[in-house]
Amino acid sequence: MTQEIDYTYTGDYRPPFEDGKEPLRDHKGREYFPYLPEPGLKKALNLAIALQRPLLLEGEPGCGKTRLAASLVYELTCKQLEGNPPDSKTNAEDWWNFYIWNVTSTSRAQDGLYTFDAVGRLRDAQLMGTDPVRLQQYMGKLEAAALKKRMQDKTKYLDFGPLGLALKDQTHRPVVLIDEIDKADSDFPNDLLLQLDELRFDIPELGEGETVQPPEARNKPIILITSNREKPLSEAFLRRCLYYYVPFPGDETLREIIKARFGEKYIDKKAVVDRALDKFNDVYQLLKNQPGSRPPGTSEVLEFVTALLQHQQTDDDTLTELDNLSGELHLLGTLIKTSADQERYIATYPPKEKADNEVSASDG
C-alpha cells in the first residue's frame, strides 16, 4: 500500500455495467457507473490535482458533474489494486478514500469538519453523578461501564465530517466531493475559506491546542465542488478554486455514453437510438435559447433511451411512437419536465393524425 500512485486522471478505467442490472457498489453502497469525461474536463481535473487546488464544477443539471468524483475514485482504486478492478466484494480498505459532503440549505461549514455532542456529554455527566447502585439497575452493568469509559475520553463525543475525515490520518490523497455548494446559505462558501486554504482546523472542545494539522503534499485531499449556479459564489471563494464549466456532450460523446451504458442493446437497436437522438436534438435546439427554459441534460437522454429500450415492443412500433413524440406525452415527459416547455414543443411539432401514423409505420 505504500507504492507511489500516479494521480493523473485518464478516464480509461470504467466499471462494468450491464443494462437492467445493478451498478457496481462499494462498501458504503455508493454507485459507480461508466463515465466518459470530455478532454477539457480531464485536463481541468489533472490541473487541479497537480496544483492542489479545489476544482469548482458548474454546468447544466444532469451533465455529470457529480459522477466525475466517483469516476476518479474508481480509477485510483484500480491503480491502487494494480490494475485489478474492484468489485462489490472488495474490502473497505481497498477502496480509495472517498468522502461525499452533500450540502443542504441548513449545512454549516463546521458540520463538514466535525460535530461535538455536548448535550450527550452533559447527560452522561449527570448520569455519572447519580447513585452507582441505581445507575447499574437502570442501565445494566455493561452499559454503565461503557458510560464510564466514554466519560474519560472526550473524543468519543466527537464526530468528524467528510472534510474533517479527509484531513485526518491519510496515507494517500483522498477524494472529497462537496456536492451542490450553492444550496447552502450564502455565507457557507466564505466560512470554508480558511479550511480550503490552510487545510487545518482547531477543536476547542477537546481543550487548548487541539488542532488537526495540515496534511503534506502526499496526502492533501483532492477536492471537487459542484454548483448549479442557484446562488452566486463570493469572489474570495472563487479565487481559491479552479473553475470548469462542464459543457453538454456533443453528438459523438453522447453516442459513446449510450454505448457504454447499454452495450449490446445499443448495437441491436441502433435505428431506435439514432431516431431518439434526432428527436432529442430537436428538443435541445428548441429550448436552448429560450429564456426560462432548461434543455434536457445527459441524465434525461439516458432516461429517454432507457424508456425506449425497455419497451417490450417491436422496433417499428417504437419508431412510430418516436415520430409522433408530441402525441406520446409519457415519452416526452422524460425529456421535457415542465408543461410550458412541453406545450412549446407540441406547438412547434404538432402531433400527427392517426392516418399519418399508419403510413409512417408501414414506411419504417
Partner: protein
C-alpha cells in the same frame, strides 16, 4: 516568446488591463502549471487557452469569460504576427499558419418583444419625444406657473443616508424556520398558568437574512426621475446594500423582467418569483403606477393588479416608491394602486420612507385590498 522565468506575463498583464481582477498568486498558478508540463502539449495555443481558462475564468464579473477570450485572441494574433515577422527576416519562404478565424460571438437568447409604454402616444417627431414632465413652457401648451405642477428631480432627493438607514430597518432580524430556541419567558408564563412545569416552549431562532429586489420602471415617463434613483443604484452597485438585485420593466411587469446591466436580456417573471423567499425577500418597486393616466386602459389596470397579486405571497415586505407626490395621484390609476397596496406606496419623502421601513413585517403574507 516571453521570458523563460516569467512565461506569458504579458498575457497576464493584458488580461488585468482588460478588467480581470487577477492576483499575483493566480499568475503563480500558471507558472506552476507550466512548470508541471500543462498547457504545452504540441505547443498549441488552444492548450494554453484551456489551462488559462481553468485557472482564471470564473462565474463572476471580474473574471469574465468573454473578456478573457477577446484578450486571448488578440494576444495570439499579436504573437503570430511577431513570429511571422521574425520568420520573414530569417527564412522568407516559410509559410505560417493562417490566422485563426475569429471566435463566433456568444449566441444571445431570443428576446421576447418589450411592450411599449402605454401611457404615451407614439412619438413621431423629436419634440414629441420630450418626456411629459419636462413639457413645461413649450409653445402651444398652456403656461403653468402653479408650483404644484412643476416637479424637478432635484427637488426630491432621497439622500443615500436615508436609503441605507431604511435598509438597516428593513433587514432587522426575524424569527423564522424550525423552532429550535428555548423561549424562556413563554415557558415561565406557561408554568405560572398551569401551576407546574409541563413542557418547554420553543421558538424559531432570530435570523438576519434579507435580500432586496428592486424593480425599476424604465419607461419614457420615468426617464426624468432617473437621477432620484441614483443613490439607491449606487448603494447596490457599491455593495453597501447586499444581497440586492435590480431588474427593469416597462409600465408594469408582465411575463418578463429585464436584466439591469443588459436590458435586452429577458428573465421570466416566474423565475424571479420562484427565487424569492416569503420571509426574506424585500421588494422595492420604482414606478409611477400609471400616474399619467386619468382614464387608465383596462389592460394596464389588470396587468398591474395581476402582477401585485402574484408578487405579494412571495415577499416579506413590499414598498412602492412613486417619484410623483401624492396630490398628483388623485383621480389616476396611481390612486387605485395606492388603495390596493394599503399604504405601501410612498412619495420620495425621508420621513415617509423611514416610517414604511419601520413597519414590522407580520407573520402573515401581505394581502392586497380588493379593488373597490
Amino acid at each position: 516568446m516571453a521570458e523563460l522565468s516569467f512565461p506569458f506575463l504579458d498575457l497576464f498583464q493584458q488580461l488585468q488591463g482588460a478588467g480581470m481582477k487577477l492576483s499575483p498568486e493566480q499568475y503563480d498558478l500558471l507558472r506552476q502549471a507550466i512548470g508541471k508540463g500543462f498547457g504545452q502539449e504540441d505547443w498549441k495555443w488552444d492548450e494554453l487557452r484551456q489551462v488559462c481558462r481553468v485557472l482564471w475564468v470564473k462565474p463572476s464579473r471580474n473574471y469574465d469569460g468573454q473578456t478573457f477570450e477577446q484578450v486571448f485572441d488578440q494576444y495570439v494574433r499579436q504573437k503570430q504576427e511577431e513570429i511571422r515577422a521574425q520568420l520573414t527576416v530569417t527564412q522568407p519562404e516559410a509559410k505560417t499558419a493562417p490566422p485563426k478565424p475569429a471566435q463566433p460571438m456568444r449566441q444571445w437568447p431570443r428576446v421576447p418583444p418589450r411592450k411599449k409604454s402605454v401611457s404615451q402616444p407614439e412619438a413621431t417627431t423629436a419634440e414629441e419625444k420630450v418626456p411629459t414632465a419636462f413639457k413645461t413652457g413649450v409653445e402651444g401648451l398652456p403656461q403653468m406657473d402653479d408650483p404644484r405642477f412643476k416637479v424637478t428631480p432635484r427637488q426630491m432627493p432621497l439622500p443615500q443616508r436615508t436609503i441605507l438607514d431604511s435598509w438597516q430597518l428593513l433587514r432587522r432580524p426575524l424569527r423564522e424556520g424550525i423552532r429550535t430556541e428555548l423561549d424562556l419567558p413563554a415557558t415561565i408564563r406557561c408554568i405560572s398558568q398551569v401551576g407546574y412545569f409541563s413542557d418547554v416552549v420553543m421558538r424559531p431562532v432570530k435570523n438576519k437574512r434579507a435580500e432586496l429586489i428592486v424593480l425599476v420602471d424604465d419607461g419614457n415617463v420615468m426617464l426624468p426621475y432617473q437621477p432620484a434613483l441614483q443613490p439607491l443604484v449606487r448603494a447596490i452597485e457599491t455593495q453597501q446594500i447586499t444581497p440586492a438585485k435590480l431588474y427593469r420593466f416597462t409600465t408594469y411587469p408582465d411575463e418578463y423582467l429585464y436584466d439591469w446591466v443588459q436590458p435586452s436580456h429577458a428573465i421570466p417573471l416566474d423565475q424571479v418569483l420562484a427565487q424569492m423567499h416569503a420571509r426574506r425577500t424585500i421588494v422595492l418597486v420604482w414606478g409611477d403606477a400609471g400616474v399619467t393616466q386619468t382614464n387608465p386602459a383596462d389592460a394596464h389596470r389588470k396587468g398591474l393588479l395581476d402582477f401585485l397579486n402574484r408578487l405579494c405571497p412571495c415577499v416579506r415586505s413590499l414598498i412602492w416608491l412613486n417619484p410623483l407626490p401624492p396630490y398628483r395621484w388623485t383621480g389616476t390609476l396611481a390612486e387605485e394602486v395606492a388603495y390596493w397596496l394599503d399604504g405601501r406606496m410612498t412619495h420620495l419623502n425621508v420621513f415617509q420612507v423611514l416610517t414604511l421601513a419601520k413597519k414590522p413585517a407580520g407573520n402573515d403574507r401581505i394581502f392586497l385590498r380588493s379593488p373597490g
